[in-house]
């Protein structure tokens, strides 16, 4: 059974302005993500990739089609699909420790177990010395580490990531991608990542789903030959990158024509 199964999902947004003018965001999307697979959803901005992620998270309801997580129909948000947000979405009034512990406290886990788990995950993301800091005292990269730890603590079936490193500068971004690989080596997880960076998708993924422009459809699914071991600038890497770049470049901006 796949960890995540998306079947013929379609999402229409009612128009806010003109009556009857609905927006078809995504259409006929089907994909499967296996256990411990890293799947990237890649596409132009506005192609509906974040919409798809919000549907998987249960923040929004698909107009038609169904989404299953470990065989269970998705009806709303739940801890089996925790999310890492682009803007971190850390609780500013909680310390790093309490942010990471949030999902456990909601479940009313005992203090001793919380302490043990939080300590482990703080160490995993390299923040052992910062557990009593508040988010506003941390850099962007560190905040995103907290956010990753917070999402992992609830042991989700699928970890959802919405352009998690887009707000970071290039250096931090590369470092966080390397960190993500290290974390996943220690803590196997099924991940769905939304990104518009081809390099990020190649570096992190087993599978890359390339989406078309609005309405978003699955254009092609690409398997990476040696996941997370590709060396940049080798012929194999450049080959994959060129292929994806061509797929994306083939997507002319139809929205401006129509």
């Amino acid at each position: 059974m796949p960890a995540l199964k998306v079947e013929n999902v379609k999402k229409i947004y009612p128009s806010l302005h003109a009556k009857g003018q609905e927006v078809l965001a995504i259409e006929d999307i089907s994909l499967e993500v296996n256990k411990n697979e890293f799947c990237s959803i890649l596409g132009h901005s506005g192609c509906g990739k974040t919409t798809l992620l919000n549907l998987i998270a249960g923040f929004e309801v698909p107009t038609s089609g169904r989404i299953e997580c470990a065989g269970k129909l998705v009806k709303g948000p739940g801890a089996d699909r925790s999310m890492v947000f682009q803007d971190y979405a850390l609780f500013p009034w909680l310390t790093v420790y309490d942010n990471i512990a949030f999902g456990l406290k909601v479940k009313r886990t005992g203090a001793a177990e919380i302490n043990q788990v939080v300590t482990r995950f703080a160490a995993l993301v390299g923040l052992s010395h910062f557990v009593s800091h508040y988010p506003h005292q941390l850099s962007g990269g560190m905040r995103q580490r907290v956010s990753i730890a917070r999402a992992l603590v609830v042991n989700p079936t699928v970890l959802l990531m919405d352009e998690p490193f887009a707000a970071l500068d290039a250096q931090n971004r590369a470092m966080m991608q390397a960190e993500m690989i290290r974390i996943l080596n220690e803590e196997s997880k099924t991940v769905v990542l939304v990104t518009h960076s081809i390099e990020e998708a190649i570096n992190l993924s087993d599978v890359i789903v390339v989406m078309t422009r609005r309405p978003g459809r699955v254009k092609e699914v690409i398997r990476i030959p040696e996941p997370r071991k590709m060396v940049e600038d080798t012929p194999a890497y450049l080959e994959v990158r060129r292929k994806i770049r061509d797929l994306i470049a083939g997507e002319h901006d139809l929205s401006e024509v129509s």
């Binding site: 923040f59 009034w93 999402a151």
Partner: protein, 257 residues
Amino acid sequence: MQIIHFLKQFRRLALLVILLAGWEYASRFILDKTEATLLPPPSGVARGAYELMESGEIWKHLFDSLSREFVAFCYASVAIPLGIVMGCFKWVNEQVDPIVEILRPIPPIAWIPLSILWFGVGNTQNQFIIFLGIFFPILLNTIDAVKNVEPNLIRAARCLGAGSWGVITRVVLRAALPQIVTGIRIGLGVGWMALVAAELVGANSGLGFLINDARTVLRTDYILVGMLAIGLIGLCLDRLIRYTAQKLMPWSRALNA
């Protein structure tokens, strides 16, 4: 170094000192006796303050005013849960909002005549007026704060397993707290102004009563002392809340700006 620092601080008060000196001079040497009664010099005001403090009269009025403000604040704090419910549930907001919108623009002072008929002269009437002053700023700020909670914080809580109640208590309430405190600050300020107005006409004690009572016996120095006390207490209340809130919520950008 310390002396230089002290002098630098003192420099900020230079204009104030010059104005006070000018006032003292005018009151003593330019104004004639009748006029000087209407505007006593700062030294006279200081003497009045000393008299009022020594006789203990000012403390009594101050205590009465502050306890009215406090009691009214306790009643008015129902605005916090009401505001949260209004911010969270659309149908409650739909029902209550029109009532709030009609009542809100009526200044608390406009309620004085009716409230005297309802409650007579005294504590209850004063508290009612202050209540009206405090209630609406807290309510409006709470509603606004709840509506403006970062949507991603709520989503984050939901996908970490929090239910509706968990989202309200663990996220909405905490995220809204700084702005609720701002509402309390504004409310206590408005309430304090309303209090003095209420005491001018409908009380037998309090700072408002003190200055109005001093008018009838032409003690302008007492009036000025009372006015100063009203201003100082208002300032202290505001600073106290701000300081406490900053200590309790060091993470809030709004409070520490």
